[in-house]
Amino acid sequence: MELVGTVVGIVIKSLIFIIGMFLGAAYLTLLERKFAGHVQQRPGPLHVGPHGLLQPIADALKVLTKEDLVPNSVDRVLFYLASLMAFVPAIMILAVVPFGEPFTIFGLEIKPYITDLNVAVLLALAFGSLSIYGVIFAGWASNSKYPMIGGLRKAAVLIGYEVALGFALVGPIMMAGSFSLREIVEAQQNMWFIIPNILAFVVVIFSILAETGRTPFDVQEAEAELVGGYITEYTGMKFGLFPLAEWYIATFVLSAITVIMFFGGWNPPPLLGWLPIPAFVWFSVKVFLLFMFFLWVHWTLPRYRVDQITEIAWKVMLPLALANIFIVAIWIIIFG
């Protein structure tokens, strides 16, 4: 009986998460277009629905009913697999992200996360690096020159920044003493982990920019050089999945992990502890601000060349991450 309860609970929660993520990603596109518009002194989507609120629905309807054009010289299996390989891992990371502390409603004790793995960080990193395959398959399967170059470029960048991201996350794990995200958040009751790990925070910011393909590491979809990067040959919903997965869901999820690692998950900021705001709201406010920061960077800076990006990954980011581990070790010895 108890097994049935947990299964039903998990199914409902995962359904809420996936549908929420789909709708959320759609409205994140609207948020980005509105933000980009106002940064450029223009209003962004305005006439489709009140203040453009129906714009994502119109985009989704159009993209779904587009003709599903598959060029004949394409490796059909890999072509279909690529968009799923890029999309599914991004959503799977949600399984381990705790959105708030457990609370009870009419006697039912609800935990606002699907599972509390004790190796949550490893799982998140693993799913993150799975999306590299989606990128390479897309580049290879499209059987044309531009996607091939775009795919290989993105793969080179991703590998460089996966390593740097992995080492950068070691700092907070050492301080919290466990891999589970929930325990990391609980370990940050009194002091957030950003204070000792400032170097790791910089490395994580740059790695997320590279992972999700945001300027200044926006290599895969550099319109100017490669027409559409590896998504040149995709049409309809297969095309829709790529930016949805990469620019919006991955950015949202990775900024959620950064908030958990460095900004103390759902703990209120040190001075505003007394405000009666529930944990879930604190967490979403922090994730929202970090997401806006990524948008802000995306719409301002020019773009590096590919070899400069990989050079920064291996020559700057990796040493910074290792230095950060060294600093955190000293911090732990001094402050225990």
Partner: protein, 581 residues
């Protein structure tokens, strides 16, 4: 300021070459020689007399004479600031190729082969410059009809039988994809590296329809060639069938980003040959509008350059400033982009009320906006990493490729047409000419931004002078070959008769030829007009700055990656309407 070769050099040429004819006129000094001694004379001019900068090479068709085609070389002496033209008849429709003396002549000779059918011995890869390889005819010959031979039946697909009175379902032959593949194969005869990447004509990265062929090893480009002609509309062929006033709108459509500067350059050439002196107010209006258009053109360059490098917001900020300048031009001329505003003898309409206040408002607000772009870009480390030491152009390259404009000035060559040949009011305003030291993309960026500031300075002085010239006439209609204004036509029969004659028979330019150029934002835009005395030019050659600046791209891209191709193309700033004419 006498600009052409003077007596002292001519005597040296006469001494060392006996069979040479020299024809001197006020606007054009040419040395004619036969085909055998041509290369000898050219290398003599280049090494001994210091005429080492290549300006232009083109052909002319005289169907009545026996050696039908005549090649004209234009050279420039950077120290003495003198020009010379060398003419040579092409016996047997062929000329010796001068690519060993100047690398810039390669494309000019390809264009001469494409348009006239003149062969060049010793040219490394003589292919058609604009038309596709399997095209049978040579269009710029006098016996080729303007519309071509309409032999293909191409009805409209929208089902209307005859939509307009000037519609004919017959059309000239269109190329097929096989023709274009042959054109591409001919360009890179043997494939050296791994793959040949078509940075295709309809590509968001190229500014307009330029077709790049990269022979690439991984991401590194080993060999590159550029196919132009995707916007070749045959403007020079049109020029031979319409009068001088009717050609003014076509000069806008060539370099459509700096329309007014092209009109001013063309009209100055016609006026100098006709002997018309525009009124004082017209001169200042022209200089002011030219400088406004220069800021407009540099803003578009900055916007698309930053867009190609990823800074999307700069593109929209520069377009907000461009909207302001286009509002001014729309208010003064009537249309935002291709404003046919300059006329022979002055300008089409007077400045409307409130124009000078609006321009002053723009001038007070613009430098602050320029500082905004600079803070985002100039000291940005990503911008520095992408621009410093990318595509370094040496002074020798400038001379041998014939580079002009900001590209030449960024490498330290002080070549500015406004300096040594000031037309309109450039002689009376003072401004600086910015020069770079290293000659890489970063220098070209800084030179163009500095040029925008200098243009603001020039416009300020023009506005101050124009404030006092409130009621003066804006066009000098006393001259017999200048069109009268509408009020004069309404009120006097003689003006109406003069207007009818000039519209029907065109302005009768005196016999002879002239080459005069203006400083366009994209380099020196020169007009060579050879007139036989009727109302239509016999041959009108447009020396396009962007055409020769783009040629150095194939040299700079060797050994760099595709991502740098974007930076180099952006810093050379070509406009396809002008390169393809």
């Amino acid at each position: 300021m006498h600009l052409w070769i003077d007596g002292q050099d001519l005597d040296q040429i006469k001494k060392s070459f006996d069979s040479v004819e020299i024809s001197r006129s006020e606007n054009f000094v040419s040395v004619q020689i036969n085909k055998e001694k041509l290369l000898e004379l050219l290398s003599f001019l280049k090494d001994k007399l210091g005429y080492k900068m290549f300006i232009d090479f083109f052909c002319m068709d005289f169907p009545v004479q026996s050696p039908r085609f005549q090649g004209v070389y234009l050279l420039f002496n950077p120290e003495k600031m003198r020009r010379v033209a060398v003419k040579c008849w092409a016996e047997g429709d062929s000329l010796p190729s001068a690519t060993k003396l100047w690398k810039g002549i390669k494309w000019a000779e390809r264009e001469a082969w494409d348009m006239f059918g003149v062969r060049f011995e010793g040219h490394e890869n003589l292919v058609r410059m604009f038309m596709w390889e399997t095209y049978q005819h040579h269009p710029l010959r006098k016996d080729f009809p303007l519309r071509g031979h309409g032999e293909v039946y191409l009805p409209p697909l929208s089902g209307e039988e005859s939509p307009a009175h000037n519609y004919s379902p017959y059309h000239t032959a269109l190329p097929t994809m096989e023709d274009l593949e042959i054109t591409q194969k001919k360009r890179l005869p043997e494939k050296k590296a791994q793959i040949v990447l078509n940075w295709g004509p309809l590509h968001p990265g190229t500014h307009g329809t330029i077709w790049f062929l990269f022979d690439m090893e991984g991401e590194e480009v080993k060999e590159c060639d550029i196919i132009l002609g995707q916007l070749h509309r045959g403007v020079e062929k049109i020029a031979e069938n319409i009068t001088y006033t009717q050609f003014i709108p076509y000069t806008d459509r060539m370099d459509y980003i700096s329309a007014l500067c092209s009109q001013v350059a063309y009209v100055n050439a016609v006026e100098k040959h006709l002997g018309v002196e525009p009124t004082e107010k017209a001169k200042y209006i022209r200089t002011m509008m030219c400088e406004l258009q220069r800021i407009n053109s540099h803003l578009l360059w900055l916007g698309t350059y930053a867009l190609d490098l990823g800074a999307l917001t700069i593109f929209l900020y520069t377009f907000r400033e461009r909207e302001k300048i286009m509002d001014i031009i729309e208010g003064i001329a009537g249309i935002r982009l291709n404003s046919t505003y300059i006329r022979i003898g002055g300008v089409a309409k007077d400045l409307p009320e409130g124009a000078l206040d609006v321009i002053e408002h723009f001038l007070n607000d613009f430098p602050q906006r320029l500082k905004e772009y600079e803070t985002i870009l100039t000291k940005n480390r990503v911008w520095l990493r992408r621009n410093v030491d990318v595509g370094v152009i040496t002074r020798e390259d400038v001379y041998s490729y014939g580079l002009t404009g900001a590209v030449a000035r960024a490498s330290g060559v002080p070549y500015d047409v406004r300096m040594f040949q000031p037309t309109d009011a450039y002689g009376d305003v003072d401004f600086d000419v910015p020069l770079g030291k290293v000659g890489d993309s970063y220098d070209r960026y800084l030179v163009r931004v500095e040029e925008m500031r200098q243009s603001v300075r020039i416009i300020k002085q023009c506005v101050k002078v124009l404030r006092q010239m409130e009621g003066e006439s804006y066009i000098n209609t006393e001259h017999p070959f200048v069109l009268p204004t509408l009020d004069q036509v309404f009120n006097s029969i003689e003006a109406m008769v003069k207007d009818f004659n000039l519209r029907i028979y065109g302005e009768k330019l005196p016999e002879g030829e002239i080459y005069l150029s203006g400083e366009n934002p994209r380099g020196e835009l020169g007009f060579y007009i050879n007139s036989k005395g009727e109302g239509r030019p016999y041959r009108l050659r447009v020396r396009s700055g962007a055409f020769y600046n783009l040629q150095v791209f194939t040299e700079l891209i060797k050994g760099r990656t595709v991502a740098d191709a974007v930076v180099l193309l952006g810093s050379l700033d070509p406009v396809v309407g002008e390169t393809d004419r």
